[in-house]
Amino acid sequence: MLKKLIVFLLIGTLGYTLAVTFSSIPIGANRIGSLDNPETVAAYYLDKSPNDLKVANTITAVVVNFRGFDTLGEVSVLFLAATGLASILYRKEEEEEEEENKRHISHRLNLPSSSLVQTGAKILFPLILLLGIYVFIHGHLTPGGGFQGGAIIATGFLLMLVSYKGFKNNHKIMVWLESLAGLGFVGVGLYGLIRYGSFLQNTGWTGNLNDLVSGGLIPLIYIFVGIKVATELTNVLDILLNIKSRRK
């Protein structure tokens, strides 16, 4: 009880301090400043994104180009999380097989799935896949992009994994896609480094604002990011769904 009191006091104080602090940072105030002579990064980005990069979605421009290195890091975080997850939940293959033989039951998580669900999933899956691909291909034009598209695709795989007992990802293709997407991202970056002397630098050719093919290498990077995110997330789900959890 005492602990509860202390915790309440603590979080109360913390909340109060946060409230006091943020109350002097009003929402809606324009902190960007003038775009013509940018003082803040935001103004600079809003100025350069449509004019130099010809990318309509400024956020995409920021995520992929201005702060593309962050995104590279972020993709690696996801990759490392998948790797870490695999290493934590890894089981030696023999052990797995042995158990499989002994028990003859697959213990993968089975959410209740009727044939209705299965049929629905079958129909939805390509649509979701398509939606995801659309989202990341249009990342530089409309809201959305690699992460969103990748996550949507992963949701599609999740649907299939959950509704079909026997559904197995084609691991080989997944591994290839995963690696190649990552290498592609880095490769585009290296192209910038070699060609222009700056890692991830965009090409000089950028097209017109709001064209599908515009923004130089930005859509290409976002496609790689999309594939990478999709495969990593699917990987994570696949590992988690395949846990043979029950102890003997």
Partner: protein
């Protein structure tokens, strides 16, 4: 390359080489180590003159090595004792394991000690001091660890306290006086107990721990007695003198100031600490049944005399201290070698288990006899001269009569344990199980005999030691020490003819001792020490009825209050309480992740609450 670096290199290479040789042939290690130390000594004594200096820069600091007459004096002790001890070790260590380790550390210790005396700046002094400390630590724990686990660590902890006290002083000398050279610091008055009083106090603490002054002496007896005897020779003979070296180097100079009476309290405190050390060391030595322990406590007591001598701050007193430094190294080295020989030949040094070795080890006995005479401060052997000078300094020059009484009491009591040592090991009835003990091998005897001869000669012709000692005193600022081959002039100009006094009194004692010896040698009746069948009681098997048990029982009863004041226990309690106290803080790491998270939030909130206090 500088010649001084070559000497250090010889010792270093020797250390590594012996370490490596051990894996090929453990017999060669001892000889190799001996040869290397001999080589180093030869190079040193032939190539390096006094007054040599070598300046260089390391780590952005100006360092300086060199030799004054004062450090030369100590270098004599170091190299002389090392060569003899290593010669002695060859046979003594035979058959024991890990010889490479032993000799490697031994040579490193020598390197450290040599480095200490050649250092003319505080940084190298500290570096070599630490090398000496940890190398000797390795030797202290050489014997089976599980017995000396606490002892070895105790030695190291005390040494570290001392060393770090020194380090604190050193960094503050650098800040306040902007120098790291010892001579400059002295010239600028860094040790005057005037301005930054913690500097000399910390430095003094560091040196006096190494010299095993009360109340920091507790590491010494166990460390001395538990290390291999051939090393204790060096340990007690030379290494503990490094503390004396430091005190002499740094503190005697303050007495030379314009008004020495200002620091009267320092001298008094130091003197009393030395005096108490002498008394306590002696008293504890009395009740030991192990000869090694007895000698160890006796070493503590002897260092007490030296500190008393230093504390007087007069010419005679410092001369006494320096003289005692050498002579103590000589006779205590010899005695530890004797103990080692007995241990090697008879298997133990427990005086309740063996006795009457005189017939089995006559040469060893002879060395023991002469050394004990020196230890007790009786003429004609060198110990007497030192003691005389000390008394004279105390009485005539510093008028500290109470201290005289204390020192006198302690030297008198020293007779008791000297007698016990001699009687317990060599005289008395012969035990049955020591019947086939043999005399020590020749390579062990030679160093013992050499030391014995030095002890005798220095008693007869004290001038041999006065000469370098007087030079050494000049080097630390005491000019015009008048001495002759057998006499010394005191403050009032009175000349004391020590040689003559020594001879006269000596003649009497020699007669007495020869008598005792002959009596002891002549066996009257072959009754074992534990044979008390005549008294009508049937002793149990485990009852140790040796006469060495409760040897000084009446005396012990008289001094009982002193024994209960056990410094060791105090330190031990302190340590245990500290650990228990630490355990409390350790419990902060509860192992519960949530608690850790709570700590984080508490810390955050505390920072947020007191943000205006912490960050202005």
């Amino acid at each position: 390359m500088e010649i001084i670096a070559i000497i250090l290199l010889i010792l270093l290479v020797g250390s590594m080489l012996t370490f490596l040789i051990d894996s090929f042939s453990s017999k060669l290690t001892g000889i190799t180590a001996f040869l290397f130390s001999l080589a180093a000594s030869v190079v040193f004594f032939t190539q390096i003159p006094s007054g040599y200096q070598f300046k260089f820069q390391l780590a952005g600091l100006d360092l300086q090595w060199g030799l004054t007459d004062y450090s030369y004096y100590f270098a004599y002790i170091i190299f002389g004792m090392s060569v003899l001890a290593l010669l002695y070790s060859i046979k003594y260590m035979e058959g024991k394991g890990r010889l490479g380790y032993f000799y490697g550390s031994f040579l490193l210790t020598i390197l450290g000690m040599f480095g200490v005396v050649i250092s003319q700046d505080f940084v190298s002094l500290f570096i070599f001091w630490e090398i000496m400390t940890w190398a000797s630590f390795l030797l202290v724990i050489y014997n089976a660890y599980y017995k000396v686990k606490t002892k070895g660590v105790k030695y190291m902890i005390f040494s570290a306290i001392g060393a770090y006290a020194m380090l604190t002083a050193i960094v503050f000398i650098r800040v306040h006086y902007d120098t790291l050279l010892i001579s400059e610091a002295i010239a600028k008055g860094a040790f005057n107990f005037e301005q930054y009083i913690y500097i000399p106090i910390f430095l003094l603490l560091g040196f006096s721990i190494k010299a095993a002054v009360m109340p920091f002496h507790v590491w010494a007896p166990s460390a001395y007695s538990k290390s291999p005897m051939s090393f204790t020779t060096i340990f007690s003979g030379a290494m503990s003198k490094m503390g004396v070296f430091g005190i002499g180097l740094v503190f005697t100079s303050i007495y030379l100031g314009t008004n020495p009476e200002n620091f009267y309290w320092v001298r008094t405190i130091l003197g009393w600490l030395g005096g108490i050390t002498a008394v306590m060391g002696t008293i504890y030595a009395l009740i030991q049944t192990d000869a090694k322990k007895l000698l160890a406590y006796s070493s503590v007591a002897q260092l007490g005399y030296i500190v008393v001598g230093l504390s007087t701050g007069t010419k005679l007193g410092i001369m006494a201290a320096l003289y005692l430094t050498v002579i103590h190294a000589v006779f205590k080295g010899a005695l530890f070698m004797v103990a080692g020989a007995v241990e090697k030949q008879a298997g133990t040094t427990d005086m309740t288990k063996i006795s009457g070795l005189i017939r089995r080890m006559p040469w060893t006995f002879l060395v023991a006899l002469v050394s004990i005479i020196a230890l007790a401060g009786m003429p004609p052997v060198g110990g007497f001269v030192g003691k005389w000078l000390l008394y004279e300094a105390l009485i005539t020059e510093s008028n500290n009569y109470i201290l005289v009484v204390v020192v006198f009491f302690s030297s008198t009591a020293a007779f008791l344990y000297s007698y016990r040592f001699l009687y317990g090991l060599f005289l008395g009835q012969e035990e049955k199980d020591t019947k086939d003990v043999k005399e020590a091998p020749i390579t062990m005897l030679i160093p013992m005999l050499i030391l014995m001869i030095i002890a005798i000669v220095s008693g007869a012709v004290p001038g041999l030691i006065f000469e370098p000692a007087a030079k050494a005193m000049e080097a630390i600022g005491f000019q015009d020490v008048t001495w002759q081959m057998s006499s010394l002039t005191n403050l009032w100009g009175d000349t004391t003819n020590l040689g003559l006094i020594s001879m006269l009194i000596g003649a009497v004692f020699v007669i007495v001792f020869v008598f005792i010896t002959l009596k002891g040698y002549k066996n009257t009746k072959d009754v074992g020490t534990k044979d008390i069948s005549t008294s009508g009681e049937i002793p149990k098997e485990w009852e140790n009825l040796s006469f060495q048990q409760d040897f000084f029982q009446p005396f012990q009863r008289a001094a009982a209050p002193l024994y209960s004041m056990n410094m060791n226990k105090i330190w031990k309690n302190l340590g245990e309480n500290l650990e228990a106290f630490f355990g409390f803080f350790r419990k902060l790491y509860t192992g519960n992740g949530q608690t850790y998270a709570l700590y984080v939030v508490i810390f955050l909130v505390v920072l947020l609450l007191f943000k205006d206090v912490i960050f202005s």
